[in-house]
Symmetry: D2
Amino acid sequence: MARPAAQVAATPQRLDGEPVARACVVGASGFAGALAAALAWAHPNIALEAVTARSEVGRRLADLHPRHRVPLELEAFDADRLAARADVAFVSYPHGAAAEVVAALRERELRVVDLSADFRLHDPALHERWYGPLGAPELRGEAVFGLTELHRDEIGQASLVANPGCYSTAAILALAPLAREGLIADAVVDAKSGVSGAGRAATDTTHFVSVDENVSPYGETGHRHGPEIDQELAALGCDVRPTFTPHLLPLDQGLLASCYVTPTRELTGEELADVFRGAYGAERFIELVDTSPGVRDVRDTNFARIHSLVEPGGRVLVFCAIDNLWKGAAGQAVQNLNVMLGLDEGAGLG
Amino acid sequence: MARPAAQVAATPQRLDGEPVARACVVGASGFAGALAAALAWAHPNIALEAVTARSEVGRRLADLHPRHRVPLELEAFDADRLAARADVAFVSYPHGAAAEVVAALRERELRVVDLSADFRLHDPALHERWYGPLGAPELRGEAVFGLTELHRDEIGQASLVANPGCYSTAAILALAPLAREGLIADAVVDAKSGVSGAGRAATDTTHFVSVDENVSPYGETGHRHGPEIDQELAALGCDVRPTFTPHLLPLDQGLLASCYVTPTRELTGEELADVFRGAYGAERFIELVDTSPGVRDVRDTNFARIHSLVEPGGRVLVFCAIDNLWKGAAGQAVQNLNVMLGLDEGAGLG
Amino acid sequence: MARPAAQVAATPQRLDGEPVARACVVGASGFAGALAAALAWAHPNIALEAVTARSEVGRRLADLHPRHRVPLELEAFDADRLAARADVAFVSYPHGAAAEVVAALRERELRVVDLSADFRLHDPALHERWYGPLGAPELRGEAVFGLTELHRDEIGQASLVANPGCYSTAAILALAPLAREGLIADAVVDAKSGVSGAGRAATDTTHFVSVDENVSPYGETGHRHGPEIDQELAALGCDVRPTFTPHLLPLDQGLLASCYVTPTRELTGEELADVFRGAYGAERFIELVDTSPGVRDVRDTNFARIHSLVEPGGRVLVFCAIDNLWKGAAGQAVQNLNVMLGLDEGAGLG
Amino acid sequence: MARPAAQVAATPQRLDGEPVARACVVGASGFAGALAAALAWAHPNIALEAVTARSEVGRRLADLHPRHRVPLELEAFDADRLAARADVAFVSYPHGAAAEVVAALRERELRVVDLSADFRLHDPALHERWYGPLGAPELRGEAVFGLTELHRDEIGQASLVANPGCYSTAAILALAPLAREGLIADAVVDAKSGVSGAGRAATDTTHFVSVDENVSPYGETGHRHGPEIDQELAALGCDVRPTFTPHLLPLDQGLLASCYVTPTRELTGEELADVFRGAYGAERFIELVDTSPGVRDVRDTNFARIHSLVEPGGRVLVFCAIDNLWKGAAGQAVQNLNVMLGLDEGAGLG
């Protein structure tokens, strides 16, 4: 049959404002890359010019990820062709594979937000222990860890931003205000994530029947997002390494970090609230709430919703809910790009 | 504690365009009403001035429905106070309770989109059989059935639009092109809906444990959306009354109508495709696709995704997927209001 | 570490009665095969002696399918070794691969219940159209279609039973009483299944994120269980070929067939009830109910729950809910084996 | 229509052995009570004679909870009538309401397993703080806390067993071996439960749309199962009060307690394994595993599945998965009754 596979999205509703940058998404077939493409496509100040993938080349992104309705066709990666059409790039390749394409794009002077882990850890030895051989070591110096609320100024100057892991984002946001004040004597992070965090690959782990009506921990003896958390807390002067255990839940998008902190000194609820208000009171993507946060509350948004309290025994509890694909990946990537380009930080995230 | 329940959404991101109407939502605590409020709040040409509810008065809508982040406080209904502040109203009351508030608002010259069933059925006797005593009979003459794609011109002139039921929307969209061409000899509509369609009331039916890992039919001997379907098909010259059976599924938002039509004459696939292209080729919220539509494809959108085919035995199959809260309720309500106000039909609908 | 992977199920709680047969399960790593093994393991009159698989050889079945707690180790298939230890076999291989092992086992005089489709269709041409080349053609004559309620006597004499497909089981049970009475003028079967019906293979289709919050039809232009339904209705004197469309639901186990029948003559509800009572009143695994059946009602049981009614327009509706892994696969396989061995038909089925 | 609502479960498959006690279930309409009835109904040595409820009197239990297929009719509570027919009782009333009926049954010399919290806490002041006024204070002395693995001998002599809470069961089983050895310096219990733990009442919390695609903590400042955990750890010589935070998950049955223990001294993995093997090596309902336990692994079983490890930083992690309705409620109740009656501890538990 000659007619196209789908008659959709005739008129893109975008570019209401003035485009200030042309973008591409390298690795747009996965969940995070596809969402980055969707957000860039609808962004008022960004013109999405190309999407690439390692498989599925030639397919329309809207057919692979119908919800996003991005009508572009997936291309094979070609640094020269992309450099001719784009000023900035989101890279959403698996760990290990990203460094090389990031290097090729940086060589051609594109500014890059890398959603992989390839440039997150500053310590090369630590990177090698968790991820294997170091790619593009020459670029490590310029990469900025892209937790926007912690590194906004550096991100504004950066040409390469290493977008944090989803678990790291939630855990660091929950613990940073306490770490900065020297308040953490000990910490446990019990994290719960939806399945999209495990990626689009069909595996025994992501099979519906494995996940449905189930919950279980994984990576109990160490998960790769742990070192990111440690690195960022250390940068704030806290050398406690939290115990961090992820759990897989029967839901699609959403991540909750339940943090149990033994404080270095007794705290009242009001003092604790002050710590968090001081840290995040002016942040547009952090919601400080007095009630239990649920991941539904932040679904399909870039918000981190944080609830902190002092329990009767004196322990400090901090719960941080995010959407793992938004604030935990593509949403924060766009937030970072906005900062890099000097745009309104919430542009296209709304 | 003195601080507010939630420190959220400090600056509403709205009114990028010029507001052309001031709106209120009467009955904003339910799922459809809350979404109508959220869409109105974010709408570039509408200023949402008030939200009311029958219970929960005084609560912030953003606390009741966190995802929507509408910072307005729920008020008690007061027609005079609303009339002083709003030009248009969405009414989202239960059937039977809506007519009275619609009448009060119409008296004060607000233009109304009513999401209840109180003005959907033209035949008073039929209405009484399914819903009981007729409310505001004097208004029935002016109410237009708000399936936008079928009644756009009348809606443009209307002061009262009766927004269709969710099942009716999907079934009518699937069958109307065939009905108009006299092609329906017999029809079965097997419909499947997520739980939000059953409303926010906590009942045995909506209890998680009743729905989870379950699917079952209901209303097998007759469902109230049946007469809406019959009425609209009859208006197109088709006097077949489809068998219509809804089923409840373990999901939140989404509705699929699987329609099995015995055609009045043999049809080729190409002829069938022509019928649907002729009917909907220019419609921005109808997607004609060649693959099985899933309700995920239209989640949180106003799209109806339709797939039609002739099966080997000659029967015509039409599958129509919508989000029951969007195209099946609040999304279509905004689409209708856009038409009523002469705005771009997709304004505020993403 | 030396200790075994799991310290479980120390003492099997089985063989309360006298074992009358030694059994093996060929292909026990999939969902249906694993359940067949679990049922055989707990069966009072069967001694489960061996389980085999094409992959995962050497793994304990209890580690692969923890819920079932069958402590046997998966072996590679070896007809001679199995024949030395078992009298009967359940074969749960994919279509196309089963015929060969069934032939090897039959050659060695094991009685076999085959859960694949390799021997279900009597017409070789039809089989080839849907499944490709015919395996073990010499055995086709002896295979009995294993819908127990329809073919109990033949099954009792059979050495090879072709266990029906899950969709076929539900649809045939729903339609057979009407077919036998010549009451079907036309029929539509809209079927809904949980994901376990799609098998244990990790694919895009079975990925949690594809299924969750979704429902969609598939195989709209023809599904392999269709010819099974046609064959069995034809054997009852009904030459109507129902339109049959399966849908995939976000649940694990459970299958609902919603059947819409145009009767050949007007029927009252009481006449209809008589037809079903006459057909199934004495069946221990058929539940005739007056309320909407849900698949939860039959989860982890071998029951088929059937609700029939005449809708106001005269159409006959029949809803049949089963657990696709029990009555739709392994449960019915055990029921058939019980009949073959002259055991109580419900032995080992809870 | 004259025929019964459902033609089900014609022949109860029970009493294969010799009945040694006649039982009743007081409060069989809730999830735990209904399961207790189902287990008692199928129990080889117990004859279930009556089921009562506070509402739904006159309804067949099989119609209210179809899966369980218990054909008895719900009666109003009448201590004398029950005493005439039963020797033992399961009481499954809400906290506060149970004490009175327990007292009435004890007066008539029935032995009772009470699934409520009314007799769990030994300290009356503590009970009053969490639950309000003390019921039947005269009986508190005779009540034994029914965590079978900890109090088997006392349970064997008891006439009144206070069945533990679901969270308490998992947390105590996870921590008791360490507590007994004086190994707990500090502990956090992050628990996750399915919705059936919240009971059958339809509330905003149990509405499908609240739970689906969500996870959130609750009771962060104190949950009623906390004091049970404290009491039992204290009885083992450990005066640490763990921080305990429950979370609600989008699943039906299943509970995971993730326990993070700061040990009083450094432990090797082998020492830790020895502690758990020493405690539970001979327990038939405790499974010690080397892999991450999931709640699916124990669904519809009375098993507690425990995985313990020492993480690189020295913290001890213990994960305990149970089915909240089985080992966390009705299953353990039957286990306790078996011990009370001198039966095989696993009788009737599959």
